[in-house]
Symmetry: C2
Subunit: 479 residues, 2 copies
Amino acid sequence: MNNQIKQNFLIVFGFLLIFALKTSAQQPSPTPILYSEKTLNELKQIQRAALQSDYAYRQTAYLSNNIGARLTGSLQAERAVQYVAEEMRKLGLDVRLQKLTVPHWVRGEERGELVEFDGMARGTTQKIVLTALGGSIATAPNGLTAEIVVVNNFDELEKLGRKNVEGKIVLFNNKFDKQLEESGNGGAAYGQAVAYRGGGAIAAARLGAIAVLVRSAGGSQNRLVHTGAMRYADDVTKIPAAAVSFEDAETIAYLAKMGTVKIKLLLTPQTLPDTTSYNVIADLKGSEKPDEVVIVSGHLDSWDLGTGALDDACGVAVSMQVPYLLKQLKIRPKRTVRVIAWMNEENGSVGGRTYAKEEDAAKQFAAIESDLGATHPIGFQFAGKIEAMPFFAPLTKILSEQGARLSQRQDEVGQDISFLTDKGVPSFAPMFDTRTYFNYHHTAADTFDKITPKELAEVGSVMAVLAYGLANLEQPLPR
Amino acid sequence: MNNQIKQNFLIVFGFLLIFALKTSAQQPSPTPILYSEKTLNELKQIQRAALQSDYAYRQTAYLSNNIGARLTGSLQAERAVQYVAEEMRKLGLDVRLQKLTVPHWVRGEERGELVEFDGMARGTTQKIVLTALGGSIATAPNGLTAEIVVVNNFDELEKLGRKNVEGKIVLFNNKFDKQLEESGNGGAAYGQAVAYRGGGAIAAARLGAIAVLVRSAGGSQNRLVHTGAMRYADDVTKIPAAAVSFEDAETIAYLAKMGTVKIKLLLTPQTLPDTTSYNVIADLKGSEKPDEVVIVSGHLDSWDLGTGALDDACGVAVSMQVPYLLKQLKIRPKRTVRVIAWMNEENGSVGGRTYAKEEDAAKQFAAIESDLGATHPIGFQFAGKIEAMPFFAPLTKILSEQGARLSQRQDEVGQDISFLTDKGVPSFAPMFDTRTYFNYHHTAADTFDKITPKELAEVGSVMAVLAYGLANLEQPLPR
């Protein structure tokens, strides 16, 4: 290479280098700015405040201890509506009650006694611990007595056929998958078990059964019964439906292997006329886009056996805490942060359904619901377009500081907000370690003592970071 | 040293050596022969058979599932007496029923409702899960309504004095020591808690209380109530007594900090006239010393909430299994092995008391009782002279093969045999890991499913090895 060529080469090389550097600098950044520096700093501030706050803990205590069970249609549910509305007004939020027409089912007396089986002492009965499933019709006022036929699943029932089922009581003895639960996937175990609670009455009645019992759809082995919603079909006879405890299911199944087992079953629940109740809706108005709403929510109604601390006073409480923290820190979101305490999640979902019908989905920027208790959150779940996932990375980075480093895409993340999810509203939920939740929820043991202040504070932080992050997101979310 | 001296030295040394060896060989052995080689081999055979047997498991199943709760005086208790007697006759044992006059207390309706407290929704009540303590008198037929005063212990009650207690209901909110339980010492935790169940009514009534509630004396946190015996004193007004669940105690204590808490309490138990029942006594006669008796026992009565699988069907079952195994192996003990299924351990101990009164203590060579459930046994407990401890070393060696390598001296090792212990009868019990027992016993969750076949078989082995070892011991036990 001579000097001239060398010089020319260096000149060309220099130009190429300058061009390359310039192009690189001018090219649009591969991701747009998602959160301003100010927002990111505020998020860290919010997280710190949430992890130290006991506001949600105190609210959970009030809802579960002072008000107690809040079954839709009950006076306690009513009182809870008033309480949350009042607390949100105290924070200076715009509060409205969204009117709902809700079912009004009330539990009555419930009793089960084995009155005949092999080895039984004449003249005695053996008590069976059971509870009516939500929505069940009553037995005759004096109860009904019939033989129990035990099946483990729908297939076994079908195989038995009408001739072995007619006039009898079917016990669905489907075992809750404790192993699945203990692996951290309690939700999947519950999903399997709950099919019998929901659909057992229809399947049994189709073959002529006169009542249905289901093994409790939860992991408890403490003689606890698990209530919850069940369904009837218009074209199938309605039959009384109750859950028996794990222990009682085991006993009945054991005895049935030896011969005939008869039970006397008494259930006196009532379905009263529909009544009026409300979603509580409380807005902290956005400074820049007040018409775009980020929902933070939990459901205010509960089952009636426990005091609904886990399901879902804590979800309502961590939602109420979001505007509380923002007010405390004097931070105003760009979009509106809307607290919703949903009514009637448990037995009809009238609250979620009505909101999705009456509100403009386009204005719902995002919806968050917490309804899986309050153990240590390991991240959050998201239902929506996969293209939106990268938008959450900065939030995940902040949440990973508290051990909530996962984000998982799901089809659905919360019953009440599922109606919005269906309309394309990006939906979120804290993601939990659910190893214990399904031992308590829908049972008498869903009580305030199950809440750990530290873990609840962590849930509150996930809710607040997600909510404020979404409210201040600089870009629209793909939907 | 010259050669002559050397030679003499060796001769002297040699004599000394011979003398030393001879003396050593002639000296009596420091411990006498305790068990013949034959017995030791048989013990290993018995252990193997016990660890493989499901006899006790099947008997536990029958007592808890087929017969169910066996409260003293009930038809079920009666049926259990007949059943065990019949089973022992099937084994070819000499069976007799020892007649007893026993108390007959029956549970009635029981209901608790908070009817006034801070934050309560007007017109509502909040359900309190409670159960009458065994022996409690009833409230008025319509119940009684009064303010609850919460104390953590007897000292706090005394400090409050009559002016703060009179006309009220005392809640003893003594916390069960979960940490102590989880360290493996559930018995100690129970011992602390049970003082309030036993003595609470007297202490509260002395200061004018009209009823007493005690926090359940167990480790459960699943809305389970724990019943059990309570005491009245002749010179103190009898007041109704009930246990509330852990959760309800927590709720009441929480609300009481905010202001007045009133409860409506209804209990309708009845104390019926004393009735007749029996200890079941079944002998496998000894071949050499038939008049010397080794008792293997558990108690047949149970509380009425669960089916008494852990407390104490399993104890009766592992006792029944001892002669079953000996018959199966065609091994006959030198002393008589006597199975006793005690009646009325739970609320009066009439069975144990009567036996100790009517039988000659001198003929009771040893007594074993299993009454702490059926988890993995870690060895055995012994009440008696410390000089007897070395006698058990060969048994411990055998039991250590199954991980039951401990022996521990205690003042008392079982309620029913304590009356014999007091008369100097060497007394034994399997020693357990009690981390879970006190979560279930005396509650509705004491049911058959809590029994693990493998662990029950291990308990059966401890019972059989102890019983046969004692029955064939070549020496009298120091007493």
